[in-house]
Structure formats: C-alpha cells, structure tokens
Amino acid sequence: MSEALLLRLSMLLYLVGTASGGLSLVQPRDSTRRVTAVALAAAFVLQAAAIVVRSLEVGTIAVGTLAEQGALFACLLVGVYVLAQLRYRLAVLGAVVGPIGFIGALVALVAHGGAQDVPPFLRSPWLPVHVTLAFLGNAAFALACIVSLVYLWQERQLKAHHVGTLARRLPPLETLDNVNFKFLGWGFILLTLSIVSGVLWAELSSGRLWSWEPRTTWTSVIWVIYAVLLHGRLTVGWGGRRAATLTIVGFGVLFVSFIGVNVLTPGRHAVSYG
C-alpha cells in the first residue's frame, strides 16, 4: 500500500476514534470505549506503517522535515496512549489524542517530501534508535501534560464545589495523578536512554562524548526539570496540583525548545541537517 493511502486510512480511523471518544464524554458506554480503543490502535498501526514506508524511501528514519518529525511525534503519542489505556481507563482522552494523531497524519500527507538528502554522517543505524527513543520520551511527556491539564481543570471544579456533567465522565483525580506519574516515569527513562544513545553515538563516530550546542543544552535543562519533579514526587510526595503544574511547565519548555532549536539554529539536530 502506498504511503498516501495508509495515511488517508489512518486519518479516517482517527476521526472515528475522536468521535467515539467524544461520545464517551457524553454517554459513557463500554461499546464506545471499545470502539475508541480499537479505532485509535488501528489508526496508529496504519500511520506507523506509513512512516516505515517513507523511511524505506529515504533510507533511514523519516525525520528530515519538521512535518515528518511532527508526524512521528503524533504517531508515537498515539502509540503510547494505546498502550497506556490497556491499563487505565482513559477512553475519554481519546477525544484529545485522536485529533493529535489526525493532524500528524494530515501534515505528513500535505507536506509530503521536500527533505534534503540525509548527510552521510547521519546515515547510521544509531539515528533511528536515538530519534525513536527521544520522540517516545517526548510523547510520554506530552501525555503527562494532557493528563495534568485535565487534572487541573477537574481539581478547580471540585474546589469550587461545582462538578459539571463533563467532570463526571473524567477519571477521578487520584487516577489522573497516578497516570501522570507513570507517564513522567516512562518519559524520563526514555529521555535518559535517548541521551545515552546520543552520547554513545557521538563517542563512537567522532570521539567526543558531549558537545554543548542548543539541542543538548536544552535537553539537559529539560532532564533536570523532570528529574527534580520525579525526585520531589518520590521523596516528599509532590503530587496533585503542584505535580500537574510542573508537568505542564516541563512540557512547555520541551515543546518551545524543540521547535525553537529546529527552526532557529543550525546543527546536527536541526531539521535541515545543517
């Protein structure tokens, strides 16, 4: 199947998943939950297949343009969500995750191609490993951020003694808090592994473990933010509102720096491969 067809099919399934996720906000039923889960899982598989097709075309993992990076990020985000909702009842988040996947697939479809040839020094088996780990970590942090936003909104309602219909459909605060922690933990492990893989790759290819450039600098900042957050959580029991706020701040820094570094600065990590 062609990449475009795979993307179109996955967009269709994303729409289905979004609609039934939205419906489960209005009328929670087991059937809508199941439809959401299956549609998003299938959409994920198709979009991932499209990325594989594209990657085979390029010769290495397809992250040559901002559009491709966005698509990979959205796809992995859905993938992590699909795995997570096997454990936790997060069907209502399908209404948020679905559109993200949809936009990812749409961007890949519309902004197709346009990548320059991958420079030889990046043509390495390390590239897909390093990039996939980094993006998986980002996806987990993004989900933690979404969960935290839901948490803050619901917490405000409970504090204000006004619990609307929508709040009743959402998972309880404690569940959101637990899930947030799980996403943060996985995100942190993946981020750490991606840094390790980057360091190893640099050491093996150029003999330099670490070079301070915009991406590596920002990544260390982000690593520290999440490390502090997790540490606070494990030792002093930071949770609830504070953890949610910090999670959102952390992801905000991550997101802005990711786009900023890609667009503004040259270098190995920039879109244009410098």
Partner: protein
Amino acid sequence: MTDGARVRRLHPGDEESRVELWVFGLNHRTAPVELRERLAFRDDEIATALARVLEATPLDEAVLLSTCNRVELVAASAPDADVVEPVTQFFARERGVPAATIASHAYVHRGKPAVQHLFRVASSLDSMMVGEPQILGQLKEQFRLAADGAAASRVLRRCFERSFTVAKRVRSETGVAGKAVSLSSAAVELARRIFDDLGDKTAMLIGAGKMSELAARHFVSNGIASVIVTNRSFDRAVELARGFGGTPVPFERYPQYLALADVVLGSVATSGYILGPTQLHDVLRARRRKPMFFIDLGVPRNFDPAINDLQSVYLYNIDDLAHVADDHRAEREREAVRGEEIVREEAERFWRWISRRDVTPTIVALRGKLDGIRRAELDRAIAALRKLEPDERRALEAMTQAIVNKILHQPLSVLKQLAVQDEAEAAEVAELVHRLFALEAEAGGRARDADDGDEDA
C-alpha cells in the same frame, strides 16, 4: 350494515378475547397524604383485597399497587364493562372514605393511556423523586402478590412483565437514575471524583449525628475499606462503630488518627471550628499530601472553610452538598423527557400487540374480504348467465358460500386455537394474515403501522 357486523353476530364467542385495560388510582400529585394513607394497603392485605375487588366489580384481572406516594388499581375487564363506579364504591367501602372524596382525587386511564401510565410508574418517571429505584421493586412485589393469588393472569402478566423491561430500558438508556440526589449519595459521588478506588480508603466519623451516620453508611455500602468513629461520648462511638464494623477512638485522641483518614465526616455540636489549616498542616505532611475529602455536616460548621484552600484538601459543607444534589436533580428531570419518549414508544408497541393479540378483528376482516370477493364474482356470473331459476341461483349461492367456508375453516380454527394457547404467536400470525390478504382492521388502520407489532415474542 357491514359484513363484519353480521359475521360478528354469528360468532358471539369471539368477543371473549377482547379486553380493556384500566388504571384507577391517586398519587402524590392528585391526593394529599391524609387521603393516601387512608387508602393505602399493606402487603398482607393485598391478596384478600384483590379477591374482594374481583368479586365486587366486573374486573377480570387486577393488581393493587400501594406505596406511600400512590394507591393504584391496574386492571383488565371486558371491553364494554362499566368499572369506574363499582371500583370507586369498592375503595369507599373498603376504607370508609366517601366515594365522592375518592372520585375527586382519583384519575382513570383506559386503554393505551393506562399502559403508558403503568410504564411511567415502573420507570420511576411518575415518582415524586424522578428516577428513584425503589418503585420498580415495589411494583414487582405487588404484582407477584396478585399473580400468586391468581388475580393477575394473561393480560396483566404480559403488561407488567413488559413494564419491567421498559423500566430497565429507561434506566440504561437515559440518565434519569444516573446521578445522586440525596446528600449522602452526593457525598459518595464526589468522593468517586477524587479517589481512584474507595476499596483502600478510610473514613473517619467525628461526632455521631444522624446525617453523618447516614453518610457513613453510604460510604460503607459503597465499599470503603474501614471506618474510624469518634464521639464526645465514647460509649456512643463504640456503639456506632459496632454498626459499621469500624474502630472507635476516644475524642481527645482523634487528631492522631486523622492522617489515616481519606474521608472525614464532621457533625459535632461545637461553638467553634474543631479543625483549621494549622492543625491540618502536619496531617497533610504525614499523609504525603494524599487527597483528603472533608464533609462538614455540622451546624454550626465543624471545619474552618479555609482548609479548602490547602493543597489536596476538598471541603464540602451541607449547603455545598445540597447544591450538588440540586444540580443532579435538575439533570434527572431533563433526562426524564427522554424517558417519556421511550415510554410512549413502548406503550404504543404494547398496545398494538394487545390489539393484535385479539384475533377477532382479523377473523372478521378475513371473512369480510373473502365474502366480498365471492359476492362480486357471483353477481358477475349471475349477470352473465342472465335467465336463472331462483333455485339455481340459490344453489350457486350455496356453492360459493361453501367454497369460502371450506377454504377458511382450517386457517380460522388454527387462529382461534392459537389465540387460546399462545397469544404472542397468535398476534404474529394475525399480523401475517393481515399482510397476506391486505386487510384493514375494522378499528381502522391498525394493520398499517403494525410492522414491529410482534412485541417481545
């Protein structure tokens, strides 16, 4: 004169399967409690009362429904029976209330509206508190009393069983019963918004007020793991704790246990707040800031409102709970509109079924149709043959009549037999006959919209 009317006179026995449904009663909207309580029947009175009502009135079947909000007689009779007056008299005699008083507060539903009323009652749409779950249980129980005493048989059994199904449908497809409307259940509902699982949570009861006891009971029946009870009088705490399988602690020492509590219910008689932000500070630290849900049921209030501003602390007082319950009530009423639609649709279906169940109109219509064809063809033949002797004409007439009768004999006896043995199947077969012969029921248009009239066969 139609053929149908003549045939009906020829087969008077068919009349017996026709039926009228009635609801005769009064409820919280039409009658004051003083009257309702005088007319109410205890469960152990129902069987004999039913026997007497069937004796004293032309009713064939009856179920007596008596709760604190309603006294209703759901009944079936022959179609032309006059039942309103005898039933009013029956209640008047039975309960020593003037018949005129009863008549001025009672409502009578007949036919399809009676079915619809019963379905509304079963679905808790007619209840004082829309969506309350008890009514269906009461209905089932009192139907059983009637069925055991053989006061409810063919028609009412169908009708009630259907009403149970309809009630289930309304419950699952609308939100009429969805949200908590009592203060205690609103509290449990809020706890579910905060906590993942009540199964590993602890509630602490400070003070032994009636309201907080009720709320605590609600938490226990919703699976909270344990209850700690404290009270100024320790004996009362011990007694209450025994009721929940909980742990009593002395009032002076309860702050030590506060860190164990996820839900705290307060209803102590006090002149000032018993808990404020300062006391809670250490408790929260000890709990590593796991959420705490405070429910203040005391008047004057037990907990300083400022604790609601602490992180992971949620404080609701009695008014807050009442607001939540009010919101829910308003939503239930919105959902009730959808429930009414379901009830209307189901009553319509049931009514079609009950009309079709009676095979007489089908038989009449089928005979009429074939007789019409016979006549038309006979007239044409006679006209074509022109000069016929009167006895030849009679012979032709007799022959065609015999043909029609012989053709009809088998199918009609099957229909009649079915009507006695299996009403649901009879209704289906009657429906099929209507379609095969393009019959219109003489009641007018019943057949046309009866595509899904096969009810729950």
